[in-house]
C-alpha cells in the first residue's frame, strides 16, 4: 500500500499536532509563553472525536452513497457505553454515596442496578459495548433496510427517524440512562482523574491515534477491491447488481464498520467533554456531521477530517464572538457549500492533482443548462 502526500500530511498533522499540544501543555509552566491551556487540549480532543464521526459519515456517504442523517446516534451510543463505565467508577463519591447506584438512580428511588448496567464496571466490557452496541444496531437496521432496497432519500429519512426515536427514548427517566440530564460528574478513567491536565493530554493523543488508525483503515477499505465495488454501487447500484454483485452485502459491511467508527469516536468524546446527554441524538447533530463532510469534500476521507475541524473551529469562534449569528453562518454554509462548492475544500486542490474519486455533481451552470433543455 502506497501512501500519497495528502495522507502523509494528514497523519503528520493530526498526530504531530496532538502530540505538540499535549507536550506544550504538560512540559511548560502556566506562565510560559509556549504554554497551551487545558481548555485548548479539551477542544482539540473534541474536534478529533468529531473528525472520527465525519470520517464515518464520509465512508458511507462518499463511497457507498448512503446519506445517513442519523450517524450521531451511533456516536452517542458509543458515548453512553463509555459514560456508563465512567458512572460506575464514581462509586461512593457521588452525592448520595451509593456504591452501586449512580446518583440519578438513587434520586429516582431505585434500589437495584438495572441488568443492562451490569458489567460496565470493567473497562474491557465497556470497550466491547462501545463497539458492539452501535455495531449491532447498525447491523439490524442495515440488514433490514438494504435487503428491502430502501435507498436514497427514503433511507436518509429513516435514519433520521431512528435517531429521533432514540432521542425520545433516552429522554425517558425510565430508560435508566439519566433521562434529560444524561450521565455526568465523572471522576476517574482507569484510575486517572478525568479532570487532570495529564489525563486530558493523554486522551487527546489517544484520540489522535484512533483517528489516524480509523483514517488508515477507511483508506485501506476504499482502495481495496471491496472499495471499488462499493464505489460502483454508489454510482449505479442496479448496474452493479446486474454484474453479479450483491450491493446490499457491500453496503451492510461498510455501514456497520462506519457505525463502529462513530461509536469509538463517541466513546473518546465523553471523557473529554465530561457529559453525555440525549441531545447528542438530536437529528440536527447528525445533519451537522454531514455538512462537515460536505465542507471538507465528500468522498475524500481527508476532507472529512479537515471539514470537521474547520467547521467546529468556526463554531467555537462564532459562538464565543457572535453567538446569535452562528445559526445564520451554519445555515449559509449548508447552502453555499451545496450550491457553489459541491466538492468541498478538497475540491479546490483537486484541480491540480487528481486526488478525489469524483462523485457525479452538477454545478449551478450545468443545472441551469439542464433546465433550459429539459
Amino acid at each position: 500500500m502506497t501512501l500519497e502526500r495528502s495522507t502523509y500530511l494528514t497523519l503528520l498533522l493530526v498526530l504531530g499536532g496532538a502530540l505538540a499540544l499535549a507536550v506544550l501543555n504538560q512540559a511548560t509552566d502556566a506562565g510560559s509563553a509556549l504554554h497551551v491551556p487545558t481548555y485548548v487540549i479539551a477542544l482539540a480532543g473534541k474536534y478529533l472525536c468529531f473528525a472520527m464521526l465525519a470520517l464515518a459519515v464520509d465512508l458511507v456517504w462518499g463511497f457507498a452513497g448512503i446519506l445517513s442523517l442519523g450517524h450521531a446516534a451511533f456516536f452517542a451510543l458509543g458515548g453512553y457505553a463509555m459514560g456508563m463505565y465512567l458512572m460506575r467508577q464514581i462509586g461512593t463519591r457521588g452525592v448520595y454515596g451509593n456504591a452501586m447506584l449512580p446518583d440519578f438512580m438513587v434520586f429516582l428511588g431505585w434500589h437495584e442496578l438495572p441488568w443492562y448496567w451490569h458489567g460496565f464496571e470493567w473497562f474491557g466490557f465497556a470497550l466491547l459495548m462501545v463497539v458492539l452496541v452501535p455495531g449491532v444496531l447498525a447491523l439490524v437496521f442495515g440488514y433490514l433496510a438494504f435487503r428491502s432496497r430502501v435507498t436514497g432519500v427514503y433511507l436518509s429519512i429513516m435514519t433520521q427517524a431512528l435517531t429521533y426515536a432514540l432521542l425520545l427514548a433516552f429522554f425517558r427517566n425510565d430508560m435508566g440512562f439519566g433521562g434529560n440530564n444524561g450521565l455526568t460528574d465523572f471522576k476517574d478513567i482507569l484510575g486517572f482523574n478525568v479532570q487532570a491536565d495529564f489525563t486530558r493530554s493523554a486522551l487527546l493523543v489517544v484520540s489522535a491515534l484512533f483517528l489516524c488508525g480509523q483514517f488508515l483503515l477507511a483508506r485501506f477499505v476504499v482502495q481495496s477491491r471491496f472499495g471499488k465495488v462499493l464505489i460502483a454501487v454508489r454510482d449505479t447500484e442496479s448496474r452493479t447488481r446486474f454484474l453479479g454483485y450483491r450491493p446490499e452485502s457491500y453496503k451492510l459491511v461498510v455501514w456497520v464498520l462506519s457505525a463502529v467508527m462513530a461509536g469509538i469516536g463517541g466513546a473518546l468524546y465523553v471523557p473529554q467533554v465530561g457529559i453525555i446527554n440525549p441531545s447528542e441524538f438530536s437529528p440536527a447533530n447528525s445533519i451537522e456531521a454531514v455538512i462537515w463532510v460536505a465542507v471538507g469534500g465528500r468522498g475524500t476521507l481527508v476532507g472529512a477530517i479537515l471539514g470537521a475541524v474547520l467547521v467546529n473551529f468556526g463554531k467555537t469562534w462564532f459562538t464565543g464572538a457572535l453567538p446569535e449569528l452562528w445559526l445564520y453562518a451554519l445555515g449559509a454554509l449548508f447552502i453555499f457549500v451545496t450550491l457553489f462548492l459541491p466538492r468541498g475544500v478538497m475540491g479546490l486542490f483537486a484541480r491540480r492533482r487528481k486526488l478525489a474519486p469524483e462523485p457525479e455533481v452538477e454545478t449551478p451552470a450545468t443545472a441551469a443548462a439542464h433546465e433550459v433543455t429539459g
Partner: protein, 537 residues
Amino acid sequence: MHRLIALLLLLVLALPASQARADAVDDAYEALSASALTISPASFESVRQGVEQLAASGDPRAAAVIGALHDGLLYAREDNALFIQQPDGTYVDARTGAPAADVTDDDVHTVRVNNAVRSAIDAALGSLQLFAPDAPTRLQAASAVFTSHDPAALPALDKALVKETDSGVRRRMEQARAAALLSSSDASETDRLAAVATLRARGDIDARGFLGSLSGQPPAVAAAAATAIIAIDRQLELWSLLQSVYYGLSLGSVLLLAAAGLAITFGVMGVINMAHGEMVMIGAYVTFMVQQFMHAYLPGLYPASLLFAVPLAFLVSGAIGVVIERSLIRWLYGRPLETLLATWGLSLVLQQAVRSIFGANNRDVDTPAWMSGATQLGGLTLTWNRMYIILFAIIVLAALMAALRFTSLGLRMRAVTQNRRMAAAMGIRTPWIDALTFGLGSGVAGMAGVALSQIDNVSPNLGQGYIIDSFMVVVFGGVGNLWGTTLGALTLGIVNKFLEPVAGAVLAKIVVLVLLIMFIQRRPRGMFPLKGRAVET
C-alpha cells in the same frame, strides 16, 4: 271559543288542587313557629316536620324561608306569624315577602333549631334547588341528589318531576329518583327493577359505580344490577374506543395538515424540503401578527382574525416558497441529497431570522371564543378547536385535490410531473410551474401553521417538531398520492392515540416510529406506491 272553554275547564280543575296545597302550606308555616314560642322536643319536632312539608309543598317562598331558618334569621310573632329579618334589621313577612314595617325586635322571637332540624334543613335546601327557576341549577340539584341518593329526597323529586319541562333535567331527575329509590328500604321490587333499567340506560361511570355499590337488594334486582353493570362496562369501553378514535382523528388531521404541503413538494415534485416545517412556523407567526394588527386597529373583527389569517398565511408562505424555489432549489433538481442539505441550512437561517425578529419566547395566539369549549355527544367529549381542525383539514385537502384536478395550473403541474420534456414541448413553462408548485406546497404548509397555532406553542422551533412526522406520513402513505397521505396521517394518528394509554405518550411515539421503520422495510414505497417505470428514477 274552544280555547276559552279549555281555559275555564283548567281553572275549575286546578282550583281544588291549589286549595288543598294552600292548606298544607298554612299548616307548614304554623308548625315552623313552634320552637320560637316554646322550647320542647315536641316543638322542635313540629319545626322539623314544617321544614319537610314546606320543602315538599313547592311553595315559591319555601327556599327563602328555609334559607332564613338556616341562617337564623327567621322570627315568629305571638300569633304564629313568621318574619324574615333583612340585612338592614327590618322585617319582611315570611309568607308573602312584603315589608312588615310595624314589626320591631321586641315583637318577635327567633325560631330555634336543633340537630334534627338542621339536617332536615340541609336536605330540604338540596331538594328545593330542584324547583329553581333556571335549568342548570335544577340539573345540578338533580345530580347532587343522584350522588347522595338519599331516599328522603323522593317526595321532592316526584313533585319536581311533575313540573319539569326540560328533557335533559327530567332525565337526570329520573336517574336521581332511581338511585334514591334503590337506596330506600320500602320500594317494591317492580319499582326497583325499573330503577335499575333507568340507571342502565344512563350507562356512565357514575351509574356503574352506584350499581356496583348496591347491597341488600332482592335477588332479582341484584341480578338485574349485575347484568346492567356488564352492559354499562361494554358501553363504556365502546365510548372510550370512540374517544380514542376521535383523538386519533384529530391528531391525524394535524399530521395531515402538516404533511399535505409536503405531499406536494416532496410527493409531486420530488424535492426534499427540510425547511417545510419553517413554512408551517411562518404561517403560525402570520396568525400572531394578524391578531396583533386586528387587536390594535380592527377590534370589531378580532373574533374572525383566524379567517383572515388563513389566506394571508397561504400567501406569505407561498410567496416565500416561490422565492426559495427560484433562488435555491432550482439549482439542485436531480440532486435530492444536496437539496436536503441546502434546505436544512435554509431552515436554520429561517428559524434564526424569526428568533431575531420575534424573540425566542413563545408568542400568544388567542383561540377565538367560538373555537373554545367542548360539547358532549353521548360518552364522547368533543373539543371545538379539535373539531374545527378536523374540518379545516378536510377543507384544505378537498381544495388541494380540486386545485390539482380541475384548475389549469393543476393540469400543468400534473403534466410537468408526469413528463417534463413533453410538457415543455407542449409549450408549458416548466420552470414557472416548478416555482408555483413549490409555492402551493409551501402555502398549504402556511395554512397548517394557522391551525397549529391553536394547539401548539408558537415559537421558532414550531416546525421542527413536525418535520420528521410529516416525512413519515408522506413516505408511509406512498409518495405522490394525496389519498395515501391522508390515510397515512389518519392511521398514524389513530395508532398513536391507541398506544398512548397502554404505553404512555413518549413510548407510543417511539413504538410508532419503530413500526414505521419496519413497515418501510417491507414496503419501501409506502402503502400506495406509484406504479410503472417512474419508480426507478
